[in-house]
């Protein structure tokens, strides 16, 4: 494999930093400092991405509704979310009577920790991955399922009927859609033969998984997008917080920063779903490359990998918003019908199809 020059990557910087630290202090402290820095960097990216997403969503939403959107705070309203964040930080946390105190205050942390844990495993670029588990995909599905406990506890401990109904709906929805989301990812694991996220990116160097497994991959991709969208409680699947019937669903009683946690986690879950889809189906941070076209590949490598990653993720987020503002909300029975009568059976057949494709050598990389 030819080595391309990558002038804008962070790998050189991080390696230099690591060796510099190790030269002045023992390994233990060097690793400790690096861990702290990585943690802070992740938290900062988490917050910044959430703020950017909120702004982007409001803008895109406005465009879909033939409006302009935020345009007062700063040029084009770019500081709107900064203002919102400041507002939410200084808002009073209202103490509600007759709630289960412990669970009420613990619930937002469940949600934010679950989305943070998933966020930490995402490969943002070449060498920009905090932990690279060899069971990456499985880890992501496992950890993201913790968030629902927060939703259920929040709904129950609020001592409010609306919250309770919202939480129950959310639970039913999440448990169902997690299944088909996991199966869709499993289809791609069959194709690539690895669950490691970095390994998955590497196998997609010349051919994205979306094209590699053609029909089966495409179906899995669509199913993953639908179920991921449903897992984040957004768009046509936002019946846990259907404001016309349940005020705000499970977070009705929350205010101030606690509500901010729910809000933040919702946006970040959207990002995480899009990022996983980009990594698993669209090649992650790997630039578009064509075998043998060295000059072309070199030009593609000049664009740093994190730009590729955020570009692909951004496209998927846009699709998610597009869907959100196109379709009316589903009823609960329609929601469960869609999952159990359509997505899940199709998914099971699809896995079988993928196994046949891989075993009989009909994937694109095996044909050509």
């Amino acid at each position: 494999m030819t080595h391309y020059s990558q002038p804008l990557e962070f790998t050189g910087l991080t390696r230099w930093f690591d060796s510099a630290l190790r030269s002045v202090m023992p390994d233990f402290w060097a690793i400790f400092i690096e861990l702290v820095i990585v943690g802070i960097a992740l938290l900062a990216t988490y917050a910044v991405i959430a703020m950017i997403l909120i702004y982007v969503e409001r803008k895109i939403t406005a465009f879909f509704q033939a409006r302009i959107g935020p345009n007062r705070v700063g040029k084009y309203g770019i500081f709107q979310t900064v203002a919102d964040v400041l507002k939410i930080l200084i808002k009073e946390i209202i103490h509600v009577n007759k709630v289960d105190k412990f669970l009420f205050y613990a619930a937002p942390f469940f949600i934010i920790v679950a989305s943070m844990l998933t966020f930490g495993a995402i490969p943002f670029g070449k060498g920009l991955q905090a932990v690279d588990f060899n069971i990456g995909v499985f880890y992501v599905t496992a950890v993201s399922s913790l968030g629902i406990i927060g939703v259920l506890l929040a709904g129950w401990s609020s001592n409010n009927k609306y919250s309770m109904i919202g939480a129950m709906r959310s639970g039913a929805q999440f448990v169902s859609y997690e299944l088909s989301g996991g199966f869709a990812l499993m289809t791609i694991v069959v194709l690539t033969g690895t669950m490691q996220l970095s390994g998955m990116v590497e196998t997609q160097r010349y051919c994205w998984n979306l094209f590699n497994g053609h029909i089966a991959s495409f179906v899995a991709f669509i199913i993953y997008l639908i179920s991921g969208h449903a897992e984040t409680n957004r768009g046509p699947f936002d019946l846990p917080e259907a404001e016309s019937e349940l005020t705000a669903g499970y977070h009705t009683e929350y205010s101030g920063l606690q509500f901010g946690f729910f809000y933040l986690a919702e946006y970040l879950n959207m990002f995480v779903i899009a990022a996983i889809a980009a990594t698993v189906f669209l090649g992650g941070w790997m630039p578009i490359q064509i075998k043998g076209w060295d000059a072309f590949n070199q030009i593609m490598w000049y664009i740093p990998s994190y730009v590729w990653f955020f570009g692909k993720t951004g496209v998927l987020i846009f699709i998610s918003l597009w869907v959100r503002w196109s379709f009316p909300r589903l009823r609960i029975d329609q929601l469960l019908n869609l999952e159990w009568k359509y997505l899940l059976p199709i998914n099971l057949v699809n896995i079988l199809l993928m196994v046949i494709l891989v075993l009989s050598g009909l994937t694109l990389t095996q044909i050509f």
Binding site: F102, L103, I135, F138, A142, V143, I149, L153, W156, V175
Partner: protein
Amino acid sequence: MVELIIFYVLAIVISVFSIMAVSSKRLIRSATYLLFVLLATAGLYLLLDYEYLFAVQTAVYAGGIMVLFIFAILLTHKPGDRVPNEPKRQRILSIILSVAGFAFCAHIIFHNINRVYQLVPANEINVKQLGMTLMGTEKFEYLLPFETISILLLACMVGAIMIARKRS
């Protein structure tokens, strides 16, 4: 050093929350404490560098079974109510039983701890090996139990549907 500290933290979390899970008077809080115990156990697996089991523990127990637990508890009559104390005789009996069980397990673990790690292969068992063993038909391979369990689960599902379906 660090591993030892993490181990002690996890151990304390597990033991404290286990006791809280059985001694809490509110059903839903017990479930939450149990969740913490399961998560800390997953942390122990991570400490052992056995990531696969960590993910299984989180997905199956914390993410799956606990959600169903909480769901089921929420559907019960009054999940937040304080449960009245059991009669004194029953409490003493249960304490004696649990101490006896603990002593039994501790005895076995204490006397066999040196033998266990000789039996376990030193390198990590990866997912592929696991799958192959689960699906194999050779000696020490588990296709038959696997299929038997799946039939059991199928029977459970059929039973659930029978109970839940509308009676005409």
